[in-house]
Every structure is written in structure tokens, then in C-alpha cells.
Amino acid sequence: MNGFPGKGLLEGLAVTAKNFIGSYFDDNRKERLFTYQYPEERMPLPENSRTFPFLVYDGTPDQLRCTACKVCETECPPQCIYIVRDSDPNGKPLQRPKVFDIDISVCMQCGICAEVCPFDAIKMDCDFERSQHGRFEELVAHLPSLLKSNDYYHHIKPTEADRVDATRKRVKKPSPAAAAPAPTPGPAVAAVLSPTPLKPMSPPADILTEDEKRAWLKGYQSILGTGPIVWPLTTKKIATTPQPPTPAPAAAAVATPPASSLAGGEPWHDSGLDLAKRMELAKDRSLADRLMAAMAQLDCQACGYDCRGYANALAAGVTRDVTLCAPGEDETKNTLETLLKEAGKL
């Protein structure tokens, strides 16, 4: 034992005294006083901070990037996403979700959905104050509350959003912004959507009471996030803001076929067409073409290839897995199986 008896005890006292006195002179949580007085003060969140997912739209909520390819639903480890693809009155499937539910009580905030999304449609939000007064229905986030603008995305994650914008070359729908101007954000929103990116931090200084602060926080997210939601879940026109034309017919014209060297082109490569029509268009073509026609025509790379590449791989026997076309679901799987069995490749 070194020193006199009790030396260790006295040294301990010295350390605690130093911390005690230091805590009164600590300057902004550097050293000795580490409390954030929540909810008046909040820790500034780093840019990468991730909590629950949200869906990004460019311009208006109708211009959401999500095409209901269901890759995120497949890859989500705890299976918290539920997607139902929308269809037009004739039953033709559309490239957007009718139902997109995320059960945030199941979501484990891993971010895998955002990583695998081929369209940069689903990204991770940083809002963690999501507690509700119920445990079941209240904790399921439905489509309207998940839709947040690209401006919001730039707001919370500027570097990442810039990178995403720079790499986004694929355009699935024409921007109806020409037809209907995006609604002007109100003054409160405009004040927040300033050029210098802010992080969600403490409420402004002139909001004083607890209730006002709480309301500000709730309003903050909802003002920025969803905007004036007009979601035509039915074809009935809801007369609030000018409606863009339903994008379905436009999608047919816009689906850019990949570089294909086949003579005769690929008329089936249109995700607006249903399976029967596509098979009809491809019926006299080679095995690879027919296989390609069976797929969902999204080039979403859910299978790991684009549609042409997957078809070629199947035809050449490189892969035998017919279950990879996630957007195509069972009908594609069955058709591929049938085709391959007929060709003796399965």
C-alpha cells in the first residue's frame, strides 16, 4: 500500500470536489456538467441520425418517388412495411402505392429499407418524438403521414440529399410541375426552409409556454413533412389544390426502355401494361424476350439485374431462381416457372 493510510480515500474526495466545483464553471457541456434540460434544450442531432422511415416526393405529394416495387417490404428484417400497389379504374396496375403502412412499433430503425430502395424513395427521418397515446393503430404510420418533400429531406440531411439528387438519373414519371405549380409553402414553412440547412433543434425563443413548445414541435414536423396533402386515392376529384393529371397514361410513354439491341424493340417493356398484354406482345419472340415480358418492367434491380439482364440470365441458365422479381409477385414467378419448364431449363 502506497502512501499513508487513507490516501486513496482522500484522493477520491479530491476528484469529486474538482468535479463539483467544475460543474459550476462548465462552459456549454464541455467537461463537467452534462445535462441537456429536455424538453427546453435538445441535443443537436448529427446529420446521419436515423429513426423512422419516410417517403420522399419531389414537388407535390403526387410526385412521390415510390413505385411500390416492394423491395423495402421484402428486405425489411422485422417485416414492418405493408404495401399495396394502386391501380386505375380499369384494374391496370399503377406505379405508385395505394397503401403504404409502416408499423413504427415494429420498425427497428435499421435503415435497410433506405439502403435497398432502387428509387431513393424511402429515406430515414430523424424525428424521435413519436409517442402516441395508444399502442396499436396509433403507432402505424400511413401513407399521408409518411410523405415528406425533398425540401424537407434537404433540410434534415443536406449532404445526403445533394448526393441523391446528383445521382438520380432515372425519371419514372414526367414532372407534372409544368402542369400544376407546386403549392407555395406558407410563411412559417418558408422561414424554416431557409437556404442554410438547419437541424431540428430547439423551438424559437419567443415560444415560451410548455404547450406552445409542444404544439410548435408537432406543427414543425407536420408543416414541413406532409404539406397540403391531397392524395387521390379514388378518382373523385377533391377540389382543394389544382390536381395534376393522373400520371398513369404518361407513365406508358415515359418508361424508358434500357439499351436493347434487339431488332423490333421491346414493346412489352412498359410497366403500365398488365401481364397478359405483355405476354401477348412477346409471344413470338425468343425465350429471353418472353421471360423478360413476364417481369414487372420496372428495371428496379430488385432481382440484382435490370429486366433484360435477369431475363438473359435465366435464359442462359446462369441463375435458376424465379422468385427474384419482387414487384412482379406471384404472377411473374409462376409465369417464369412455366416458361422455363416448357423450355426444359428448370
Binding site: E11, S49, P77, I112
Partner: protein
């Protein structure tokens, strides 16, 4: 009734039940006491069993990665690394150099935060009314903030991918890490001044819970617990996985194997981790952070089985994977260090008083997420 000599004593059965004031998780110990001394001790685990291995058989290889975060929920980065290492071994993926350095940085930061937490909780079991815990947690917060800056989440990082890491570290993150590491030696000095020489602590922890060296080897104890008993084995030095062979660091080994040794070994290991971090942050090269052939979706691992292990802060964490060549594992097994280290709890506690049993449990440093999976 048990009679020993002239005095008839009665043995008392105590259940230190799953709701424990000591913060190790839901863990039960059935203890039989003879007066003050522990005569028999049975650890009862399973209160946190979450079917992790079964769930992994239903998920893709990548899908299990967030679940590995939750095994030893203090050390998510090292759990991720062990799993990624196992899959890369089976799939033959080669990890780029920058990613290896990043992995080492994250693992050593995890070691710092785990040990500081473990020591803090051990001391609060000793009764030091949270002061050492809060000092340790204060420093740990900085590391957690760094993890949040890099990977997006403080504890459940989900950061390693097969063939590298998910996100690169940019210059601000590296600067943050350097600042963080620079603070650590002075914090350790202050912490040691507070606690290590404290006579009360010495009286409480020395000669308590001795684990003999032979028993440690036979029971396959690993990690700081084994090294405190004199077993000079550290997976980083033996396997040299990652780029650990490029760093100069020492591994402390104790002699007696009592609680005090386990405590001191952890403090010394923290100092060595700081050394590794300084070297890694200095030498980190540029380059990609993920192997080019790595894929997120439709990733298939060739058929076969394999076991990969790392030196997690609590011991040797291993993953045994059996693949049938598909996108999902056929069998997925975790070798958790805390679980194996707990098997010798009875041997360590026999003959000690009940108050010591708590301290011995604290010095084993278990996390129930790992024990029960």
C-alpha cells in the same frame, strides 16, 4: 436443518430474482446460504431469450445484421464485425484496407465504451452511489455521439456490411474521433485517482471471487476474465484478424484472477485501446470502404460452414454459420462470451459472502442480450 458441530443452523434459500437492482439485465441466481456464506449458486438464464438464431434462419444474410446489434447491446459494432467476418469467410469476400482500419477504430471505441460501462456498473454494485458510473457514462456519451454521426444510431449501429462498412468516415468524423481519443487518457487518470487506490474498494475486491487458471482454461473462459486469471490469450494476437497485426499494442495479463484483477485488467486494456486508436487514426488510408463484389440484395453465400471469432470486449464472440448456397442461412449460431463466462459463477462464489456474489457477478461483465440471445 443442517447441523455442524454444536450449533444447529438452517440454510437459507434466496432467489436473487430477475428484477435485479444491479444493472445486468433479467438474470436470476438461486443462492443457498449458510448464515452469511454462499453454499450453492445456480444461475438461471433465459429471461431475455428472443429466438435470435431461429429468426436468422428466416431472414436473408443482411437482414440478420440489425439483429446482431441487439445481441450484446452495449457493443453493437463488434457484434456486427463478428458476423460480417463469418459471412466474408464463407463467401470469400475481401475487405478493402480503409474499411479494415475503420472496423478497427470502431471496435476499439466499442471496447472503450464497454469497459468504462462495465467498471462503472461494478463500482455501483460496490455501493459508490453512481458517481463513477456517471463519470464513465459522460465519456461514453462522446463515443455514442460519434457513432451517431457516422452510422446514424447511437447503439444499434448496423454499420458493418459484408465486404466493408456501410458509410465512409469523412474528415469531420475523423477529427471528432481524434478529439475524443485525445481526452481519454486524462479521463482514465482521473478515474483511477478516484477509485483505484480507494482502500474501501481494495478491501472489497481483493481476494474475492478468485478464478483459478486451470478452471478458466477448462471452462473456455475468454476475454478480460481469462486474462485476469493468467491465461495469456487474446484473439487479436492469436488470429490477427483484420489489420491488428499492424498495430503495436500490448495485452495485460493478471495473476490472481480475483475481482480486483478483472477490474484492473479492464482499465489497462482501455489504455491499450487508446494506443491502437491513435495509431489507426493516424495511419488510416484512403480508398473504397466496401468490396466491389458485395451486394445488398440477392446476396448468396456459397454452401459450406464456417466459424469466425473476434475479441469482443467481453470475450471471444464467435459466429458459426452453415450455408446451403442460398440467400438465407441454414443454421446460425452465436457463441456468446457472457454465457460461457457465466458457467463458472458458482465456482467463483462458493465460500464468499452474499454481498461478494453481487460484485463477482459484476466483474464477469455480462449482458443478458448476449447470454440469452
Amino acid at each position: 436443518m443442517s447441523g455442524s458441530g454444536l450449533i444447529q443452523t438452517q440454510r437459507l434459500e434466496v432467489s436473487l430474482g430477475p428484477q435485479h437492482p444491479s444493472t445486468h439485465g433479467v438474470f436470476r441466481m438461486d443462492v443457498v446460504l449458510d448464515g452469511e456464506y454462499v453454499v450453492k449458486l445456480k444461475p438461471v438464464m433465459g429471461y431475455l431469450h428472443r429466438n435470435h438464431e431461429q429468426i436468422a434462419e428466416k431472414l436473408t444474410w443482411l437482414g440478420s445484421m440489425p439483429y446482431t446489434d441487439r445481441l450484446d447491446y452495449f457493443c453493437s459494432m463488434t457484434n456486427n464485425w463478428a458476423y460480417a467476418l463469418a459471412v466474408e469467410k464463407l463467401a470469400g469476400l475481401k475487405v478493402p484496407e480503409r474499411a479494415e482500419y475503420i472496423r478497427v477504430i470502431m471496435a476499439e471505441l466499442t471496447r472503450l465504451l464497454n469497459h468504462s460501462c462495465a467498471i462503472g456498473f461494478l463500482l455501483s454494485d460496490c455501493g459508490a452511489w453512481f458517481t463513477p458510473v456517471l463519470y464513465a457514462l459522460r465519456e461514453r456519451e462522446r463515443i455514442l455521439d460519434f457513432f451517431e454521426t457516422v452510422s446514424g444510431a447511437r447503439m444499434m449501429c448496423n454499420y458493418m456490411r459484408f465486404g466493408g462498412v456501410r458509410v465512409d468516415l469523412d474528415e469531420t468524423a475523423l477529427a471528432m474521433a481524434r478529439r475524443l481519443v485525445a481526452r481519454w487518457p486524462s479521463f482514465l487518470d482521473e478515474f483511477e485517482k478516484l477509485i483505484t487506490g480507494n482502500e474501501v474498494l481494495l478491501a472489497r475486491m481483493q481476494r474475492v471471487g478468485i478464478l483459478p487458471r486451470e478452471l478458466a482454461i477448462n471452462a473456455s473462459i475468454s476475454g478480460p476474465m481469462a486474462r485476469a486469471s493468467g491465461v495469456a490469450y487474446d484473439v487479436r494476437k492469436v488470429d490477427k484478424y483484420g489489420v491488428y497485426d499492424r498495430f503495436e499494442f500490448r495485452v495485460p495479463v493478471g495473476e490472481t484472477g480475483d475481482t480486483y484483477d478483472r477490474y484492473m485488467i479492464r482499465i489497462l486494456e482501455m489504455r491499450e485501446s487508446v494506443k491502437i486508436l491513435q495509431q489507426a487514426l493516424r495511419d488510416i488510408p484512403g480508398g473504397p470502404v466496401i468490396a466491389p463484389e458485395a451486394r445488398l440484395r440477392g446476396f448468396k453465400v456459397p454452401a459450406g460452414d464456417g466459424y469466425a471469432r473476434i475479441e469482443a470486449p467481453k470475450g471471444e464472440l464467435g459466429f458459426y454459420l452453415v450455408s446451403e448456397g442460398g440467400t438465407k442461412p441454414y443454421r446460425y449460431h452465436v457463441r456468446p462470451p457472457s454465457f460461457i463466462n457465466l458457467t463458472v459463477l458458482e465456482d467463483m462464489c462458493l465460500g464468499h459472502k452474499i454481498a461478494d456474489a453481487i460484485i463477482i457477478l459484476g466483474s464477469v461483465d455480462i449482458v443478458l442480450g448476449e447470454v440469452d440471445r
